[in-house]
């Protein structure tokens, strides 16, 4: 069984979603729903903290693209937090996620923007 957990907090005008566990095609749709409903209209940006994430597959990456698209329509921004040493980094780079979301090494730097 694939399991993931989403914990949401609000920091001023920004919503921070801590995504942990594993996301693949079995739970990507649920994760997307959780993330979408966590962002109210008045929020300026969604920061998805991927530090606790052990596994993301192409379905999960598609969720990030979809999220960026939907938020963009509401003029809200998507930022991702991922340490430079994370094994996930190469895959995100390879799929060009940085073209739709700002990449940050720490949560503080994502919030400072």
């Amino acid at each position: 069984m694939t399991s993931a957990e989403v914990a949401i907090e609000r920091r001023g005008g920004t919503v921070v979603a801590h995504l942990s566990g594993e996301v693949d095609m079995t739970n990507a749709a649920r994760v997307r729903e959780e993330l979408l409903v966590s962002v109210p209209n008045d929020a300026l940006a969604l920061v998805v903290d991927l530090d606790g994430c052990r596994y993301l597959d192409s379905a999960a990456i598609e969720v990030l693209f979809d999220l960026a698209r939907r938020l963009g329509r509401r003029r809200q921004e998507l930022r991702l937090v991922l340490a430079q040493s994370s094994p996930l980094l190469r895959v995100l780079t390879l799929t060009d996620v940085q073209s739709v979301a700002g990449m940050h090494e720490t949560l503080d730097s994502a919030l400072a923007q």
Binding site: T2, E5, R10, E22
Partner: protein, 798 residues
């Protein structure tokens, strides 16, 4: 303004750990003696809470076994609790009563085996689960959870429901036993007080805790005067020494004992009595003796008198309240007294000659005749307890005793006396029955708490044995367990709860659950011990257990282990045998804070690990070192894999007789991924992906891939597999194959499905291919007659 909201997905491991903690918690409360009603209330609240269902309930089978009383419920509308449903095999509750495990209904609309109960129908239940409570022969009822909305229950949820049902079942059984024991204790006292025999009971130290009315009448003392004293009070001073030394001898060995001595009667006269005692056990612990004293004064006088003169003897004999007989030198009856004739309802003529054995119970006759003939031939004293037919046709137990008679040095036959001991025998039998019943219940409980079969763990040969203690010893609280952690390691545990009987067996169940919950949490062995220790200390039971907890890496053979006062595990390999010393600390439950240590070792390739409890090696007649030496020797000679090892060890270390204490054995042998390749076929469904990830994780760990490489290879193989799953069509049971091999630093992965490769629709699937191509050095997709094959190659850093 800050606000915080958490959405939680059910994390498999966290959920399982939490459910097991809930089971352990409920078990603790059951052990703490929470009344059954309260326990059942907590059980339903816990089930509804953990599973997130609208309702949970406990239905109890009525005495006539035709109805199910709604005994407790969570979320049920008013008026439902207390109602009775008919037991119907075509409805879920009735069906669950007959099943041997939990039942899951995703949607009643699609359920063909049974329908909902009338209450469930009224509540418009869609999804439900039900688990039987109690063992098949002794069903207590059913535990159920149900929901008005469609609810998907996982296999873990079903196991959780059954575990809660088992706790309720054990508690209900315990409540029933307590009642039975109380009942038989009361019956025993009633019987004791109405019997003419003299009866007494002592505690483990030998102080009198009870004497019956017959005893008080005899000695003329009050109960207050007798209690607390040693029962030797009142013995004739000349007999005191022998009496006490026999008593000490018997109690030290907890054996039955018997002694004849003179007891001072209320009127000041001295009477010869025969005192006999049996050791008493409660919940398996020795708690003292129960015994009788029989007035044998007349018999003694008669035996003495007989030596004086035959005439005085006959006079005396006929007026004596006991049964008396004599034989000639051939063993033929020459006389029986009035007491005997009064008992048997026969005439003197009928009894004379060789015919006396006719009234003996057919089951006892062979033993009576053979022992009599044997003693007669040797002219030795004869004594036996057997059943003799009375004048009303019923058999009663008597103790019959004969001694050889001599006249002027010439053997002339036997003189014998017999005493009716029927009440005493009946009482002994009832006591035995009570202890026997407790023994059986504890053993059943123990078995129900042990895993019926060990989980199949890939890459591990595993065998286990559990041998209950021999007859007359209460069962102990031994257990074993094995579980696969998500990090590719395996946790093994063997433990032994201090004490015996129901309580130990129940505590064992709680500890096993606690070790499961903490063992899955991937914390170090010493930390697991520390947490379990805290759990025990914070509980109300004064439990203590020796435990060996070990984490094994199947690939490297590395083990980390902690021993809480437990004997060391044995390693067997081509190098010989070795006990894993180290990592030792006190038993869990002994001290808080407990300081637990752990040690590490590496198993040689092909080695087998044997874990056991001390029932295997502890024996009164041999030192521990000697027994460990024997164990190592037997293990070295064993063949036939882990199963053969367990068999040899049980056969040669324990031997024919059942052991004094319970024995649990767990043998494991890691089978590393040594061939450098793995191959598996999985159903073409998304759920297979997590299975595939675990298997790949183990393989990549074995070939020492870096964390980054392991992730990237896993991702690409799973992307290819995801493609196979999306394209699977046709028969529902379609599968796909994955083969991975590693040679000369290069990894080759092949994913084969039975569909045809199609360019994925949408950008999402395009990304999958991009990932595969970006992360692998070489990718080839070929379409063959029966499906598509994706071959991927990647060089792994040395």
């Amino acid at each position: 303004m800050q606000w915080r909201r958490a959405h939680r997905y059910r994390d498999e491991v966290a959920t399982r750990a939490r459910q097991q903690a809930a089971v352990a918690d409920l078990g603790q409360r059951a052990l703490a003696g929470l009344p059954l009603d309260d326990l059942i209330d907590e059980a339903v609240a816990c089930v509804a809470g953990e599973l997130g269902t609208d309702y949970a309930s406990v239905l109890e089978l009525t005495r006539d076994r035709r109805g199910l009383l709604i005994r407790a419920g969570h979320g049920l509308p008013p008026g439902v609790i207390g109602g009775v449903l008919a037991v119907r095999a075509d409805e879920l509750p009735g069906y669950a009563l007959e099943s041997d495990g939990p039942l899951v209904v995703d949607d009643f609309a699609e359920e063909t085996r049974f329908g909902p109960s009338p209450v469930q129908r009224d509540l418009q239940i869609v999804s439900a689960m039900a688990a039987p409570i109690g063992t098949p022969g002794r069903r207590f009822g059913v535990l159920g959870a149900s929901s008005r909305r469609a609810h998907k229950f996982s296999p873990d949820d079903a196991l959780f429901l059954q575990a809660i049902a088992n706790v309720v079942g054990a508690a209900a059984e315990r409540a029933r036993t307590d009642e039975l024991v109380r009942d038989s204790e009361a019956r025993f006292r009633e019987l004791a007080d109405t019997t003419p025999a003299l009866m007494w009971m002592t505690d483990a130290e030998g102080s009198v805790t009870y004497v019956n009315k017959g005893w008080l009448r005899f000695t003329g003392r009050t109960l207050q005067e007798e209690l607390g004293a040693t029962w030797a009070v009142g013995a004739h001073p000349d007999d005191l020494h022998e009496l006490l030394s026999r008593w000490r001898e018997a109690t030290a060995r907890r054996e039955e004992f018997r002694v004849e001595y003179r007891l001072v009667r209320a009127d000041g006269s001295e009477r010869w009595v025969l005192a006999e005692g049996l050791p008493r056990y409660d919940a398996g612990e020795f708690v003292g003796y129960v015994g009788t004293a029989t007035d044998i004064h007349d018999r003694r006088l008669i035996e003495d008198a007989l030596r004086e003169s035959e005439a005085t003897f006959r006079d005396l004999a006929d007026s004596a309240p006991v049964m008396i007989w004599t034989t000639d030198e051939r063993g033929l009856v020459t006389f029986v007294n009035a007491g005997w004739l009064d008992y048997t309802g026969t005439t003197l003529e009928e009894e004379l000659g060789p015919s006396w054995s006719l009234g003996v119970h057919p089951e006892d006759a062979p033993a009576v005749i053979s022992s009599w003939n044997e003693k007669l031939a040797e002219r030795k004293p004869w004594e036996l307890e057997y059943r003799l037919r009375g004048k009303d046709g019923n058999y009663r137990w008597i103790v019959d005793r004969g001694v050889p008679r001599y006249e002027g040095g010439r053997f002339v036959g036997y003189v014998g006396t017999a005493i009716d001991i029927h009440e005493r025998k009946t009482m002994e039998a009832r006591l035995r029955e009570v202890y026997e019943r407790e023994h059986t219940i504890a053993e059943t409980l123990q078995r129900s708490l042990l895993p019926e079969r060990l989980p199949r763990i890939e890459g591990l040969e595993i065998a286990a044995r559990y041998l209950p203690a021999g007859h007359g010893n209460a069962v102990g609280g031994d257990w074993y367990d094995a579980l696969e952690r998500a990090d590719g390691r395996v946790a093994l545990v063997v433990g032994d709860v201090v004490g015996h009987g129901l309580r130990a067996a129940a505590i064992m169940g709680q500890l096993r659950n606690a070790f499961r919950a903490y063992g899955l949490a991937e914390i170090s062995p010493a930390e697991v011990m520390a947490r379990v220790n805290r759990l025990i200390i914070s509980g109300e039971e004064n439990a203590m257990a020796t435990v060996l907890y070990l984490v094994l890496d199947r690939e490297t053979g590395d083990v980390t282990f902690a021993s809480a006062g437990h004997p060391p595990p044995l390693v067997l390999s081509s190098d010989g045998t070795e006990f894993l010393e180290g990592g030792r600390a006190v038993p869990v439950g002994a001290a808080e804070p407990g300081i637990f240590r752990e040690a590490t070792a590496t198993l040689p390739p092909g080695a087998t690990l044997l874990l056991y409890t001390d029932g295997l090696v502890e024996r009164r007649d041999a030192s521990l070192e000697q027994r460990l030496g024997e164990l190592a020797e037997v293990a070295r000679d064993a063949d036939g894999g882990v199963e053969g090892l367990c068999d040899s060890v049980l056969m040669r270390v324990v031997g024919e007789r059942r052991p004094d204490d319970d024995v649990a054995l767990l043998a494991v042998r890691p089978r590393p991924v040594s061939t450098g390749s793995m191959k598996l076929a999985l159903p073409a469904e998304p759920e297979s992906l997590s299975v595939l990830r675990r298997r790949l994780g183990r393989f990549l760990h074995a070939v020492q891939a870096s964390e980054e490489a392991a992730y990237e290879v896993t991702l690409t193989v799973c992307e290819a597999a995801g493609n196979a799953i999306e394209h699977a069509y046709g028969p529902v049971d379609a599968t796909f194959d994955v083969e991975v091999s590693f040679e000369n630093g290069t990894l080759l992965a092949v994913v084969r499905d039975r569909g045809s490769w199609r360019e994925r629709r949408g950008t999402h699937r395009g990304r999958g291919l991009k990932i595969i191509e970006g992360l692998m050095d070489d990718v080839q997709v070929t379409t063959e007659a029966d499906g598509t094959v994706i071959r991927m190659r990647r060089r792994l850093a040395a």
